[in-house]
């Protein structure tokens, strides 16, 4: 390198000053590495494993001021606020990857059956909602399908919590054994479409009977009824003079838990309600990310400021020397490059050292915290995690901070006037 000889000797000469400002960069980078690895560790060890159970990237959107139960009861009468136009708007929101409507039924339904494990045949009004198989396909038991079929039993998903409720309270009350999921899956019963006790029989000519079969349990299934394929329910609704099915709610999938907050806000601005849990956690994650980011920026600004001060001092100390170099043939740009190279090397060394220190502290912290953790239901194996992107990124930020911090001193150095070499 052309200026390498000068650069090496400059670095050697100022090693004390450069080492101390390098340590400042290292400190900032170390803290960023530590925080970053803890954030990554908590995300990978705690948040990510919880995601499938509490899908933070899936928002449930409902029309405002109407309870879920009521919607399921008579979604057809309401419809307000959530329609196909609203769905289209939801799909267009930034960060939304998919929208799954929860279709309501436009006709009364009752179900009968249950001799198998209830002991006697029951008949009860039932509410049905339709869901896209793409959303709940993972909940369907092996060997079963949740696709719309014109023949055979209608596939039914039941709320997982309904089974839990039955087992924890109902079973003992009616003196029946508890049920496992396996026992219920495959269970068939009869659906009477077009007639229920509460709503009677609006049109006796349009009452039909279909066999339904439980194919799985789902967290997205309707708690107070059954959930059938969206296409099946839309087809049945159309048979009851409702070509456009009522919508009870919609699931909105976003491209990460951090998106839940902003997307929730956008949805609420549009006049719809968002189920609270993922919204709160998503907002918390967003705030945590923003706070961490701002903190990192502050630390880097501090490091950059240290670099600026040190190099201002060095440039001021070397004013005459810089003028002499200009007289002997250094271009203005050469002097700026020398300063920027020096600062970048200090930043790189500081960054490297900072990453090593930060990662070491994080590793020790991980051992200590894991050792202290009580037996939790979701006991993480690690609370810190490292990724190449995190470590390289943190070191690189040190270089960037040093480079940016040295810009003004470099510009100052480039302004050295060669004529002053003769005057001093």
């Amino acid at each position: 390198m052309r200026l390498g000889a000068l650069l090496r000797r400059d670095l050697a000469r100022s090693r004390r000053k450069l080492a101390s400002v390098g340590l400042a960069v290292a400190g900032s980078v170390a803290v960023i590495t530590l925080l970053g690895s803890v954030a990554l560790g908590l995300y990978q060890g705690v948040v990510a494993p919880l995601l499938p159970r509490l899908p933070l990237d899936l928002l449930k959107v409902e029309p405002k001021t109407v309870s879920v139960g009521l919607l399921a009861l008579d979604a057809g009468a309401l419809g307000g606020g959530l329609d196909e136009v609203a769905l289209a708007r939801l799909r267009k929101l930034e960060g939304v990857t998919a929208v799954y409507p929860v279709v309501g039924s436009a006709f009364p339904i009752s179900a009968s059956g249950g001799e198998g494990f209830l002991g006697r045949r029951l008949r009860a009004d039932i509410f049905a909602t339709g869901l896209d198989p793409a959303l709940v396909g993972g909940d369907v038991a092996k060997g079963y399908s949740f696709e719309d079929r014109s023949e055979g039993p209608i596939p039914v998903l039941v709320a997982r919590r309904l089974l839990e409720l039955y087992n924890s309270t109902v079973a003992s009350a009616i003196e029946r054994p508890k049920l496992s999921a396996e026992m219920v899956i495959g269970f068939q019963f009869e659906l009477v479409l077009g007639s229920s006790m509460a709503r009677g029989t609006p049109d006796p000519n349009r009452v039909s009977t279909r066999v339904a079969q439980v194919v799985g349990f789902s967290d997205h299934a309707n708690l107070v009824g059954i959930t059938i394929p969206e296409a099946t329910l839309r087809r049945l609704n159309a048979g009851y003079d409702r070509p456009v099915s009522p919508l009870a709610a919609a699931y909105v999938k976003v491209d990460g838990p951090g998106r839940a907050g902003p997307v929730s806000q956008a949805i609420e601005r549009a006049g719809l309600a968002v189920d609270e849990t993922p919204k709160i956690i998503g907002t918390a994650l967003t705030i945590a990310a923003v706070v961490l980011g701002l903190f990192a920026v502050m630390l880097l600004l501090l490091a950059a400021f240290g670099i600026t001060q040190t190099f201002f001092l060095l440039v001021a100390e070397r004013r005459l020397e810089l003028a002499i170099l200009r007289a002997l043939g250094a271009r203005a740009g050469d002097l700026a490059r020398l300063v920027l190279w020096e600062a970048s090397l200090v930043g790189a060394l500081g960054g490297l050292f900072g990453v090593i220190v930060g990662a070491s502290v994080a590793w020790v912290l991980d051992r200590v915290v894991i050792g202290q953790l009580p037996d939790l239901p979701f006991r993480p194996e690690h609370v810190v995690a490292f990724s190449p992107a995190l470590l390289l990124g943190a070191a690189f930020l040190g270089v960037v901070a040093a480079f940016l911090g040295a810009l003004v001193p470099a510009w100052r150095a480039a302004g050295a006037n060669p004529a002053t070499a003769l005057r001093s």
Binding site: D10, G329, R331, A419
Partner: protein, 222 residues
């Protein structure tokens, strides 16, 4: 006569002082031919250093015409003037202006380090050693310049000024900081330099140095 190394015609230079302009140089003409030793004399404050700055492409803020090796300095941008200083000019300063953190040989090598494209290290080392031999410091290259006497420092500075093979060496009071005996030895060196096919322009108060010149230019107070 061959083409002059340096041709200054009607050089004027003013400075701003407390809102008023003060003339420093008012119409200086000067020609330095190849191999010539030219002395610039006159009382303190008469503008010798100012004129060297113009001649040495260090100061672009003058009126009149300055031609160095046939090139009009006014037509060159800052980078081109810098290249010209590095490749065709050598500077010797009154206060020596060595870089204190470098060794003797490294100080001499600085102009070669700045050359673009770079000179291969082996060749650069040879050039440095040759110049150090010429100024009588051939075996002192690895010493720190901090230990040198004033005369030795000025020898290093002269070796540095000559290392790139300049056509013109500009010296501002090169013996001003030296005692008489040491100054006389430096003056002798300048005479040798002329034999290297390098013209020399010296601003000096030193009568014995001026006496060796082919041409003496007397600057008066403007």
């Amino acid at each position: 006569m061959s083409e002059p190394i340096l041709a200054l015609t009607g050089i004027r230079r003013e400075i701003q002082e407390g809102g008023r302009t003060r003339p420093i140089l008012s119409g200086i003409d000067l020609v330095v031919s190849p191999g010539q030793l030219v002395a610039l004399v006159g009382p303190s404050g008469c503008g010798k250093t100012t004129l060297l700055s113009v001649a040495g492409a260090l100061d672009a803020d003058y009126q009149g015409e300055a031609r160095l090796l046939g090139q009009d300095l006014r037509q060159l941008n800052d980078d081109a003037r810098t290249r010209l200083r590095n490749e065709q000019l050598g500077f010797v300063f009154q206060a020596f202006h060595l870089l204190e953190h470098l060794s003797v040989a490294e100080n001499v090598a600085v102009p070669l380090w700045l050359r673009d494209p770079p000179i291969p290290e082996v060749q650069a080392n040879l050039q440095v050693q040759a110049r150090l031999d010429e100024v009588g410091l051939g075996d002192r290259g690895n010493e720190s310049v901090r230990q040198l006497s004033g005369g030795e420092r000025q020898r290093v500075a002269i070796a540095r000024a000559l290392v790139g093979g300049p056509k013109l060496l500009l010296a501002d009071e090169p013996t001003g900081n030296l005692d008489q005996v040491t100054g006389a030895k430096i003056a002798e060196l300048f005479e040798q330099i002329r034999k290297l096919d390098c013209a020399v322009l010296i601003a000096t108060h030193d009568r014995s140095l001026a006496a060796r010149a082919d041409q003496v230019i007397e600057l008066g107070v403007p």
